[in-house]
């Protein structure tokens, strides 16, 4: 088992999620283990946005059995879920850091 590789994947996904929170959801999450619900960083609107963007950007599908709110409590847990779902094949971020969401125009 390539634990080093899995760890690297996990870190890459965490970094992408942190960027997603910052750029799309406009939320600065202090740390990957920050509780997103208890701190009020994730409201219901942002939560649904997050799920949609996870599906789009990581090419995965959130199933009802994954819909346990504990899976989304912090970036660390979300990254673990994505890694598990993509079987370690989470798509690496493109070199230019491009996302599938629009950039600000002003």
């Amino acid at each position: 088992m390539d634990l080093g590789g899995a760890n690297t994947d996990q870190k890459v996904i965490q970094a992408r999620l942190s960027a997603l929170f910052s750029d799309v959801l406009h939320v600065e999450v202090p740390a990957v283990d920050t509780d997103l619900f208890d701190t009020g960083l994730l409201d219901s609107q942002r939560f649904v946005e997050l799920l949609l963007y996870i599906e789009e950007n990581f090419h995965t599908h959130i199933n009802i059995e994954d819909f346990e709110i504990g899976n989304f409590r912090c970036i660390e847990k979300i990254a673990a879920l994505i890694l598990q779902q993509t079987n370690g094949n989470a798509v690496p971020q493109s070199a230019d850091g491009a996302h599938s969401y629009p950039a600000k125009t002003r």
């Binding site: 939320v27 219901s44 609107q45 942002r46 939560f47 799920l51 959130i62 600000k104 125009t105 002003r106």
Partner: protein
């Protein structure tokens, strides 16, 4: 094509971003103004950040908006989870019409809180509908529909997410057809005999009964379950001693009960259950006052809950 978008909530935000990526010109965004400029994820602020012109959503109720939209040469108006009733003069402005994304299957689930009503009524399928807008709410001809199963573990939050996931692509398909072959936009009149309209009311004013079968109790809890977020219906209320206790998470056990309804017990080793008319229901999370608590922190075998 010039598009006007009336939108709220995450579905509206997602539609806004999809439009921003697409080939059409978004000439007006009608939504609730943000309370502050720091509410950055609000649709209002996101639209402004993306460079779109924003208007307060409530203007759609007035004929005055028709003049403004006419001056913007609007081809199509899209309504995504915006709850204001649009004035008929405004509906008449877009050249190709006004279209609504409704998070429920029409004509059977018109009105508010379709997701919660479907769960409460024990539906095993749900759907989303894109329809032409008329002055009567959710009554216009159907353009596109998509249906999907409601799973036993679905709750209001998960089903709302599914509606958004299914609905946005339907709106994008509409835009594609409207831009290329507008005469091909499907249009199937709704059958008024099948129409059911739901308002803001909550079943039983939010109270449940332990005399109900377990299925009905659990469906009510699922219908309310937006945990850990705000629940529009609140949570089903019961009485515990002199206090009101709300059920936040509950599921069926399939274990028959002959205990008096409302009795708290341990139908299985690790679970806390409450007897319904026919079956034990496993209760894992409750709300007492404004606190969400594990049920085992509040209840113990031998306690009794009442209606």
């Amino acid at each position: 094509m010039n598009v006007a978008l009336a939108a709220e909530e995450s579905a509206g935000l997602h539609m806004l971003r999809a439009l921003a990526r697409g080939p059409h010109r978004l000439v007006a965004v009608l939504t609730t103004p943000a309370e502050s400029s720091s509410a950055k994820a609000s649709l209002w602020n996101v639209a402004r950040d993306l460079g779109f012109e924003t208007f307060p959503a409530k203007l759609v109720r007035t004929p005055d908006l028709a003049k403004q939209l006419r001056s913007l040469d609007v081809d199509i108006l899209l309504n995504v989870h915006s709850l204001y009733v649009i004035h008929r003069d405004v509906l008449g402005v877009p050249k190709l019409g006004a279209f609504n994304l409704h998070p429920g299957p029409l004509p059977r689930y018109a009105g508010l809180n379709s997701v919660s009503w479907a769960l409460f009524r024990g539906e095993t399928n749900h759907g989303v509908t894109v329809h032409r807008m008329e002055p009567e709410i959710d009554a216009g001809a159907i353009v596109y529909q998509s249906s999907f199963p409601i799973e036993a573990d679905d709750n209001a939050l998960s089903l709302s997410f599914k509606c958004t996931r299914e609905g946005i692509p339907l709106m994008l398909r509409l835009l594609e057809v409207a831009a290329s072959q507008p005469e091909q936009i499907p249009s199937s009149p709704q059958d008024p005999a099948q129409r059911e309209y739901f308002g803001a009311e909550v079943p039983g004013q939010g109270r449940m009964s332990w005399q109900w079968p377990a299925t009905k109790v659990v469906n009510f809890v699922r219908a309310c379950d937006y945990f850990p977020f705000h629940a529009p219906w609140g949570y089903p209320r019961t009485r515990f001693g002199g206090q009101e206790l709300a059920l936040v998470k509950a599921r069926r056990t399939g274990l028959p009960s002959d205990a008096s309804p409302g009795t708290v017990g341990k139908p299985a080793d690790s679970e806390l259950g409450v007897a319904c008319w026919d079956e034990w229901v496993s209760v894992s999370k409750v709300r007492l006052g404004d606190k969400y608590l594990d049920a085992q922190q509040v209840l113990k075998p031998g306690d009794c809950l009442s209606d």
